[in-house]
């Protein structure tokens, strides 16, 4: 388990207010940070080049978050979303 003490989220909260933001999580892996971000955000799209991790993320997403999170197998270079689609892009160990 990465970060059992929740320090990443604590640091995140110290630099940005996630309330109501449209978030792109690049390198989301199995979705652990997407789920932590989602309650405050308006929406979160998690992408990762590892299809198996994306399948895990989709399968294990808590039901109450399913309306506001989405996962896709993609690199950020290939991602073709409209201009100004996101308020926050978060590179998690993936730049």
């Amino acid at each position: 388990m990465i970060d059992p003490e929740g320090r990443e989220l604590e640091a995140l909260a110290s630099v940005v207010d996630l309330e109501g933001l449209r978030v792109l999580d690049v390198g989301c892996g199995d979705g652990r940070l997407v789920w932590r971000i989602a309650p405050a955000a308006e929406s979160v799209l998690g992408i990762d080049v590892d299809g198996e991790l994306i399948e895990t993320a989709i399968r294990e997403t808590p039901p109450k978050l399913r309306g506001k999170v989405e996962f896709r197998e993609s690199s950020v270079v290939e991602l073709d979303e409209p201009p100004a689609r996101f308020d926050l892009v978060f590179f998690t160990w993936s730049l």
Partner: protein
């Protein structure tokens, strides 16, 4: 860097780019508070330095402006040795020395890897806009 330029395009004006990644020193493995040794991350940190240089170039180009930075210690916890070695065996540019591996094999879980991270906040700027050649206005 194509990834960062695509992020710049997809971000709203004044949008935020956050970058979280490990920084030196290399992580140490601990078992019940006992330091078992250092993980070899030299190759990994070479890649980190190259990426940080790319990001600095996008700042110099006017796409993003650095606004804030915090450092944090994070633990990656392994409850079993099977879980630990299944994870570390998949790492491409992070390695366990023979000595550390032997110590880990004799250690009692949980095993904690202590890692130093940096979180940087950048602001999307309008300066990344490049006017078309010959001074004609950009197409809508």
């Amino acid at each position: 860097m194509d990834a960062l330029r695509n992020c710049h395009r997809m971000l709203a004006e004044d949008g935020i780019l956050l970058d979280l990644h490990p920084i030196p020193p290399s992580m140490h493995a601990f078992s019940h508070g006992r330091d078992l040794g250092v993980v070899d991350e030299r190759e990994f940190f070479r890649a980190v330095r190259a990426t940080e240089a790319e990001l600095r170039r996008t700042v110099d180009d006017g796409l993003f402006a650095l606004e804030d930075e915090v450092e944090l210690d994070v633990i990656e916890r392994f409850d079993t040795l099977e879980e630990l070695f299944a994870t570390t065996d998949e790492w491409d540019d992070i390695h366990l020395s023979k000595r550390l591996r032997a110590r880990l094999e004799r250690a009692t879980p949980p095993i904690d890897f202590h890692e130093q991270l940096v979180l940087r906040r950048y602001r999307n700027t309008a300066l990344g806009f490049r006017p078309p050649p010959s001074g004609r206005p950009a197409a809508a």
